[in-house]
Amino acid sequence: MPIDDTDRRILRQLLAEPAMATADLAERAGVTTATCWRRLERLREGGVIRGAQAVIDWRALGWEVEVSLRFTLDKTHPRAFDEFLAAAREVPEVLEIQTFLGQTDVRLNVIARDMAHWQEIYRARILTLPHIQDTEALMLISTIKDSAELPL
């Protein structure tokens, strides 16, 4: 689907503030509300905008620990990825699953209520996942930047 400068202007504003009302978005992008609405509809129909999700702040719900776990899988097993991913989806504390090309095969973003709870999840739910060859944990201290903006 071709995207022109007007689409890009609208998307830039929308990415900066995804909850903005169409009228405000139109004003910032310098188009009429009707145009803005039509353009957004077209971007949705064309599959460029696939949807919107609410972002939950798990800390506000008492989940204090967030860990990025990197895994190397045993790739001699042909179903290593599929079986690992299927099992990881069953762990409720896993928020994100990413697969990579590089030294890391898979990354899981896992939350826990506190360090004791983390240890419990790590031992009982994570280390028991299939086909793990090696794993490494990065504990989140703080998020310095988290933006969806793109240099469009």
Partner: protein, 152 residues
């Protein structure tokens, strides 16, 4: 920290899947009146549990076909070098996420680029020139999925 009941959890699950649902539509699904549902959403927003909204985009359709996660280690540490590094890295338009972490690396960085050649440009001109930069590891993202989290 606020306490959630089953209805709150159902609201969060539904909005994580589709943040564009109106209070009326969501209320009908859960057997709540529009005002009752609206009040619950409002309470979750005020408590910071719903922290915002995230667009789900087809990045490839927007011309950003490559996502790379970098693990970065600083060569020198200390308060000043952290601040210099953070200021410089957050200013790079292709950098969407910067997280300070504890473990094998000091920072996790998410970079969106048009293609591998564009990523190489960002890496050489913007990343490798960052103040205090030490070791860098790159992993190219192949797939990404988000899960609802422990709302069951």
């Amino acid at each position: 920290m606020i306490a959630l009941d089953d209805t709150d959890r159902a609201i969060l699950r539904a909005l994580e899947a589709d943040a564009t649902l109106s209070a009326g539509a969501l209320g009908r699904r859960l057997g709540l009146s529009q005002p009752a549902c609206w009040r619950r959403i409002r309470r979750l927003e005020e408590a910071g549990v719903i922290a915002g909204r995230r667009l789900v985009l087809d990045h490839a359709a927007l011309g950003f076909g490559v996502t790379v996660f970098l693990g970065v280690k600083l060569a020198t540490k200390g308060r000043v070098s952290l601040e210099d590094f953070e200021r410089a890295v957050t200013a790079i338009p292709e950098v969407q996420v910067v997280q300070h972490v504890l473990g094998l690396f000091d920072y996790r960085i998410k970079v969106r680029a048009r293609d591998i050649a564009d990523f190489e440009r960002v890496l050489r001109r913007r990343i490798m020139t960052l103040p205090g930069l030490g070791q860098v590891e790159a992993n190219v993202l192949l797939s990404e999925e988000r899960l609802p989290g422990p709302l069951g």
